[in-house]
């Protein structure tokens, strides 16, 4: 049901998801890989899965990437 797309996406869980603690522990490494144009998601698929699903950690990722690339 197209009407339920957002709910369906929200409910979909990824078993690779490492959770907040592990993602935040390597966030600086992940961000530097992204900033350098490297495939951070391939190196840290569990972190990528988490950042996709966790709003607060996704915000931290965005904020750190902006800070790291703002010069």
């Amino acid at each position: 049901m197209r009407n339920l797309e957002r709910l369906e996406r929200f409910l979909r869980t990824d078993p690779r998801d490492v959770g907040c603690d592990e993602a935040m522990a390597v966030l600086h490494v992940y961000v530097d890989l992204v900033a350098a144009g490297q495939d951070a998601a391939a190196r840290y698929p569990g972190v990528a899965a988490h950042l996709e699903a966790c709003g607060p950690c996704g915000e931290d990722f965005t904020g750190l990437l902006l800070a790291a690339t703002s010069g």
């Binding site: 339920l4 869980t13 961000v31 530097d32 931290d60 800070a67 790291a68």
Partner: protein, 228 residues
């Protein structure tokens, strides 16, 4: 001024990181200067603190639409975050292993401080009370077209049944606060004295349970990633 709002840095352990082993010169320079004595260290601290303040101010402004914190209080959050991050960075210099640039490692502290502090400040003027349980708003939160909400009523009734019948009281409280009432996860973590990860895990498990129930009832077709 360093420590001007968040307390003195006196007593913070000096750096003992082998700066010469780092590959990028900028990181080596930061570690060397922060590990030095006297004026060189003071200058490096002031420089880093000024950068942290700039980043924190930019970050709170970027997040301003998603928080009830505003105006001067938002600037205060930024300055407090920069001060606390500075203390943490100096205390944890030994923990920097050169896996990233030093600045990215350091900036992480201030970004995480901003998250934590915005979560705490949320409760000074919360748009919704804890345990409000605004189930009637849930279809809107998931972008259900008002003209088609009757069609989705069975789905949301099943979501509520799972929450009411299959979650523990703690899991139910967390799910309702974050998903039903839209309370930011960091705000709930501050209110309940729990870590972000603990709350995320509760919601993660609830998502799986609800999804399985909706698939079993035929509301969702795809078993999704959880069965891979």
């Amino acid at each position: 001024m360093i420590g001007g709002r968040g307390g003195s840095l006196a007593g913070v352990e000096r750096a003992r990181v082998p700066a010469a082993e780092l590959q990028d010169e900028e990181s080596s320079a930061w570690l060397r200067r922060l590990g030095a004595a006297g004026a060189e260290r003071t200058a490096a601290e002031r420089e880093l603190h000024a950068i942290l303040v700039r980043i924190a101010l930019a970050e709170v402004r970027r997040r301003s639409a998603g928080t009830p914190v505003n105006g001067k209080e938002l600037d205060d959050v930024a300055h407090q975050a920069a001060d606390d991050a500075m203390v943490a960075i100096l205390a944890k210099l030994d923990g920097f292993r050169g896996e990233s640039r030093f600045t990215t490692w350091a900036y992480r502290f201030v970004i995480l401080e901003v998250s934590t502090k915005l979560g705490r400040h949320y409760w000074r003027n919360p748009p919704v009370a804890l345990d409000a349980g605004q189930w009637e708003l849930l279809p809107d939160r998931f972008g259900i077209d008002p003209a088609r909400q009757a069609e989705a009523a069975g789905v949301f009734a099943e979501v509520r049944r799972v929450v009411d019948e299959e979650l523990t009281a703690h899991q139910r409280r967390v799910f309702v606060a974050i998903v039903v009432d839209g309370i930011p996860l960091d705000a709930l973590a501050a209110e309940l004295g729990l870590r972000r990860n603990a709350l995320y895990k509760v919601v993660f498990d609830a998502r799986r349970k609800i999804r399985r129930a909706l698939v079993a009832k035929g509301y969702l077709d795809d078993p999704g990633l959880e069965r891979r």
